[in-house]
């Protein structure tokens, strides 16, 4: 059963179908149904995935451009499956959340929701692609729907933000294109299939150049420190739903790319550049957090927190220990849920009052307790409170990095304190204290909004206490990746008798 193609097919057909539906309400319901179908199919696929089976499962490979050896190659390993699950869970939630977000946009509501479904198809495609060329195509194609969602439905400076986002990612994409072509030609295998290309580049200097080509594109996509300035603008101007997908899934393609392509295709270069990447990510963590503290606009603040979180993920990927690797992958999933919840609740708040500035709020807790409660839980997950899923991944990333790189791990752990500051300070300024005049008549969450936030918080709690099912899928995949990078975990100083830790 060609699972992955059906998934993408359903969402694309859904997207076309939505454009044909005349009245808006029906269009939204149709989109919701399609996204739920895709979710159900993915879950069915995930159930059949055997964690300890061979690396790539549900593989489908057809010739696309035989002349260049370009295949429509899709398959899923542990990491990709988990990320596809994340995106497929987020989309129906986003559809439900942006029920009224699309009215104010330049284009029609139907276009917004069809763009959403197209984006979903591409998200699945980008994670499932095992052909480097196909991956690149999806990597670039993803930008278009997101560009239109920001450009036509965003806030005040939406066009500036959309263009900046597009140009930034395209610039990265072009570098990657050069690297992809160079890889194809140097490898000389006449094929773009990832499995064939692994380990073909021996000479270290070429590896370094190709690594840089890929890495800069991924560093822009998952904003590492110097390339991050597009994210706050894009996330702040995008409608809440689009911002969730942008930060929750699109940016993960960057870190996923690092883990999959940078590490496996160019192991020696990866080892050579690790100190650089670790420094960039540590700067990102501390810098992102500090700038987040100083923000006045809520969505920009959340965007900067994501810059800090991506610093953690990148550090986890390049620390190259099993704990850090699987921690980073888990972090990608958890960050999707936690920042998704934070963005959506902030989106509800902004939708009610209309202004994104923190100073326009105050004492909402008294007026809308449920909204404040969910906002607090989402915030706590963002500052990775134990008992919520982000703690598990952050803990694994830090403990994994500590094994190999002591000082960066310690500096990164200060991120934990800064996270507490920016979240609680934002929460205090918006929710606590005397109720501001402007917020007196703020309605609490309605049924639809509760349905949006409830699953996310439930997921955060469940994976906070019992992350085993996710980790069982991720660990073998990460072990494979690291073994292909021929890297072993450092030995403990005191070997404990029995390994049953």
């Amino acid at each position: 059963m060609p699972w992955l193609s059906t998934l993408m097919g359903v969402s694309v057909l859904g997207a076309l179908g939505v454009t044909l539906v005349r009245n808006d309400k029906l269009a939204k319901q149709f989109t919701l149904v399609v996204s739920l179908i895709v979710l159900a199919l993915t879950v069915a696929m995930a159930v059949q995935f055997s964690p300890n089976g061979d690396k790539f499962q549900f593989a489908e490979t057809y010739d696309w451009i035989p002349a260049f050896g370009v295949h429509y190659g899709v398959a899923v390993d542990g990491i990709a499956l988990v990320l596809i699950l994340l995106s497929v869970i987020l989309v129906p939630i986003v559809v439900l959340a942006s029920w009224h977000d699309a009215e104010a946009g330049k284009r029609s509501v139907r276009t917004y929701f069809s763009l959403l479904l197209v984006l979903e198809a591409m998200m699945i495609g980008v994670f499932a692609a095992t052909d480097v060329f196909l991956f690149y195509v999806f990597f670039e194609a993803m930008l278009i729907p997101m560009y239109f969602m920001i450009g036509s439905y965003g806030g005040a400076q939406r066009s500036y933000a959309a263009v900046k986002f597009l140009l930034y990612s395209l610039f990265g994409g072009l570098l990657m294109l050069v690297a992809v072509i160079a890889l194809y030609s140097i490898a000389g295998k006449g094929t773009f299939m990832f499995t064939d290309l692994v380990g073909t580049i021996q000479d270290v200097t070429t590896q370094k150049w190709l690594f840089l080509g890929f890495f800069v594109a991924f560093a822009i996509k998952a904003p590492l420190w110097p390339f991050h300035t597009w994210l706050p603008d894009a996330a702040a101007q995008a409608p809440a739903g689009a911002a969730v997908l942008l930060v929750g899934v699109l940016d993960k393609v960057g870190t996923y790319g690092m883990l999959r392509f940078c590490l496996e295709l160019f192991p020696d270069a990866a080892k050579f550049f690790t100190p650089l990447v670790i420094t960039l990510s540590v700067i990102g963590i501390v810098y992102g957090a500090i700038v987040a503290i100083g923000q006045t606009d809520m969505k920009r603040l959340i965007a900067y927190t994501s810059v800090s979180h991506f610093g953690f993920i990148a550090m986890g990927v390049f620390a190259m220990t099993t704990n850090a690797g699987s921690g980073a992958t888990l972090y990608m999933v958890n960050h999707g849920f936690s920042t998704g919840a934070l963005f959506l609740v902030a989106g509800f708040l902004i939708y009610r009052r209309g202004s994104q500035f923190i100073s326009d709020y105050g004492g909402v807790q008294k007026v809308a307790p449920i909204l404040a409660g969910t906002f607090l839980v989402a915030g706590l997950s963002s500052l990775s409170l134990p008992g919520l899923s982000t703690f598990v991944s952050e803990f694994m990333v830090l403990i994994g990095t500590y094994e190999r790189y002591l000082v960066p791990a310690v500096i990164a752990t200060t991120g934990v304190i800064l996270a507490a500051i920016y979240i609680l300070w934002m929460y205090q300024r918006t929710m606590n204290g005397p109720t501001a005049e402007s917020v007196k008549a703020l309605p609490d969450l309605n049924a639809r909004e509760k349905f949006v936030v409830a699953p996310l918080i439930a997921l955060l709690l469940v994976f906070g206490f019992y992350p085993k099912p996710l980790l069982d899928v991720i660990n073998p995949a990460v072990k494979d990746t690291l073994s292909s990078v021929s890297v072993t975990d450092p030995k403990p100083a005191v070997p404990v008798a029995q390994e049953g830790k």
């Binding site: 004492g363 694994m396 403990i399 500590y402 934990v416 507490a420 100083a493």
Partner: protein, 632 residues
């Protein structure tokens, strides 16, 4: 004597130990998610859950007593939390069970007390939910069999204290205090986290059993580092010296919160951590020394702050800080001090909770007035509160035969044997404690009436006084019960080990008499200053020392100057740099390209002749180039 081996266990009350955590957790969930419907039964459900978990704790205690002392450490396997990193399990041994009894016991009493105290509060349901959440988290902390679960409980407790301190969050001061408490705790947790990572890096495991079994194999340098990092965590949670500023602000929360969290249970978590990680500290002499120094320093600082505070709750908070300083001091000495530290912790739990609740009922009566200068002569009006408060007062200053006398003097004696300087500082601390506790009691219950015109105090209802009475009974007898005949030390021995020869308690030792004398002097001096003399309604301008004490030894000012001010400055700089620097670079690049294209545009002048000229010159250059190339 080395701690005993952990035996895997199943069945019986201990087997159901996880119920202790689950019950309050379920209670909290029901109350939080229940919404309006659970308002009526909210508080009863909360109390029920607390009492039920107390019952389970008591049953497992009885079952534990049934076993021979050697195999009293029972481990319960729960589930694999993070494959390859941490298996979650519970460890029921004398140390954790005594904590559980303290938490659930005092916790239940405080739950009952808060029914009365929070009777007229609209969000009472949410209050009980948070209390249950706190009890669950604290139990997880003490029952955990590895450091990860301990850390989950550790931060859970921090969250609960954040929620409870900021319970009346419409008050900006409460909100800021809650945020401050959480962030300072987070700083402590930062240290604890790094400690955990070091443990994992050295032992590749975080389970207590494995870590402590191989503790001696690790190098003393790593052990010292781990010890110090754990100490940072402990300081954060137990408000020891470097990270103590949040405790006094935490008094913004309702009084039962202060009683439960900031007197009896949460603040003692640090001591629990140090005692539990005994084997690590044994391998690190310097770490133990630092612990004792921190203990003594906080002991004195707390006492000095206690003397200058007019707010009754802040004074009690100062005294809590100093009493915990005693426990940390005792824990820092090693196995000899563990038993006394935990004994003092339990007795302190009782009489400090008793006094806090007493203060709560005084505030309740004086419609939430906290300034002691507005009290005076309340002993006749509130006899029961006065009686229970007096018992607590006598216990804390170490009045002979009361529980404080046995445990606190026990600590002072073991410290004296260990290190004379620390011993005498402890004795001095006891003296100051005598002074400020007497000052507190005399200002509140004795002297002339300095009430506000609107205040007409009355005795609190039965639901509040009964927990006071029970706690005061504990304050009287518990100390003797635990210390006499080293009963508690032998009970704890399998869990934390014990010194070779048991100390024998002889009342009339030199240090004992010296402490009694100093305490007496403090009390008499307090009588003359506050009991007999006229207490001014407005705080007089104090000498340099008093303002120093009033400003919490400038702890807050220090934090502000060192961290807060530069932090804000750094944030503004970072935001400016981000907007101008990195973003400026990007936009500058775009503007640059725009500018150059604007200028290049001018070349197209529209005149045919200028184009002809450029062609002509081009041709000339080309010809020249051919010429040059041709001749090369």
């Amino acid at each position: 004597m080395e701690p005993a081996e952990i035996i895997q266990h199943s069945g019986g009350a201990i087997g159901a130990a996880w119920l202790m955590i689950a019950l309050p957790l379920v209670g909290a969930a029901i109350l939080l998610l229940g919404g309006r419907r659970t308002d009526k039964i909210g508080h009863l459900l909360g109390v029920l859950m607390a009492v039920a978990s107390f019952a389970v704790a008591a049953l497992s205690f009885v079952q534990l007593l049934g076993f021979a002392p050697g195999e009293r450490r029972r481990g319960i396997e729960l589930y694999d939390f993070v494959p390859g990193l941490a298996k979650v399990g519970l460890l029921v041994d004398p140390l954790s069970i005594s904590f559980c009894l303290l938490i659930t016991g005092v916790g239940s009493l405080i739950h009952i007390y808060s029914i009365g105290y929070m009777a007229h509060d609209p969000n009472r349901r949410r209050f009980f939910a948070y209390l249950n959440l706190f009890v669950a988290a604290m139990l997880l902390l003490v029952l955990a069999d590895n450091y990860v679960a301990l850390f989950v409980g550790w931060e859970g407790v921090g969250l609960a204290s954040y929620l409870l301190i900021g319970f009346w969050q419409h008050k900006p001061s409460a909100a800021t205090a809650a945020k401050k408490a959480f962030i300072v705790n987070r700083v402590g947790d930062f240290g604890l986290l790094i400690g955990l990572f070091t443990i994992f890096a050295t032992f590749h495991t975080l389970a207590f059993n494995d870590v402590f079994a191989n503790a001696d194999k690790a190098s003393s340098g790593t052990l010292t580092a781990i010890g110090l990092l754990l100490l940072v965590g402990a300081c954060g949670k137990s408000a020891q010296l470097p990270l103590q500023s949040w405790l006094l602000d935490a008094m913004e929360g309702p009084t039962p919160v202060s009683a439960l969290i900031h007197a009896a249970t949460m603040v003692t978590a640090g001591v629990y951590l140090i005692v539990r990680s005994g084997p690590i500290y044994q391998g690190a002499e310097t770490a133990q020394l630092v612990v004792t120094i921190v203990g003594v320093a906080t002991l004195l600082a707390g006492a000095i702050i206690g003397t200058a505070k007019d707010d009754i709750k802040k004074a009690l908070a100062g005294s809590t800080m100093s009493q915990i300083g005693y426990m940390v001091l005792a824990a820092g000495i090693g196995p000899a001090g563990y038993a006394f530290a935990i004994a003092h912790l339990i007795t302190h739990g009782f009489f400090k909770a008793d006094m806090f609740l007493g203060a709560g009922s005084v505030m309740h009566a004086m419609n939430d007035e906290v300034d002691m200068r507005k009290y005076g002569a309340l002993r006749k009006v509130m006899p029961v509160t006065f009686a229970t408060f007096a018992i607590g007062y006598l216990a804390i200053i170490g009045f002979p035969l009361l529980s404080g006398y046995f445990t606190k003097d026990g600590i002072i004696e073991t410290v004296m044997e260990h290190n004379a300087v620390l011993g005498w500082l402890a004795v001095l601390g006891a003296g100051i404690t005598g002074f400020y506790m007497s000052r507190l009691v005399f200002m509140t219950f004795f002297g002339a009436k300095r009430w506000e015109p609107t205040a007409h105090p009355h005795e609190s209802p039965a639901v509040m006084t009964w927990p006071l009475i029970i706690l005061s009974i504990g304050a009287i007898g518990l100390g003797a019960f635990l210390v006499l005949g080293n009963r508690f030390m032998t009970f704890l021995a399998p869990a934390v080990g014990a010194p070779e020869e048991m100390p024998s308690f002889h009342p009339f030792s030199l240090t004992g008499l010296a402490t009694l004398a100093l305490v007496a002097v403090g009390a008499v001096f307090a009588w003359f200053r506050y009991g007999a003399a006229e207490v001014p309604a407005v705080a007089p301008r104090g000498s340099f020392l008093t303002t120093f004490a009033r400003r919490d030894l400038y702890g807050d000012a220090l934090n502000e100057a060192l961290f807060m001010r530069p932090g804000q400055w750094l944030t503004r700089l970072a935001v400016f740099f981000d907007n101008r620097g990195v973003d400026g670079l990007v936009n500058g690049l775009a503007a640059g390209i725009g500018g150059t294209s604007g200028r290049l545009r001018r070349i197209q002048t529209g005149f045919v002749r200028s184009y002809a000229l450029s062609i002509f010159l081009g041709a000339a250059v080309l010809a020249g180039a051919w010429l040059v190339v041709g001749n090369l």
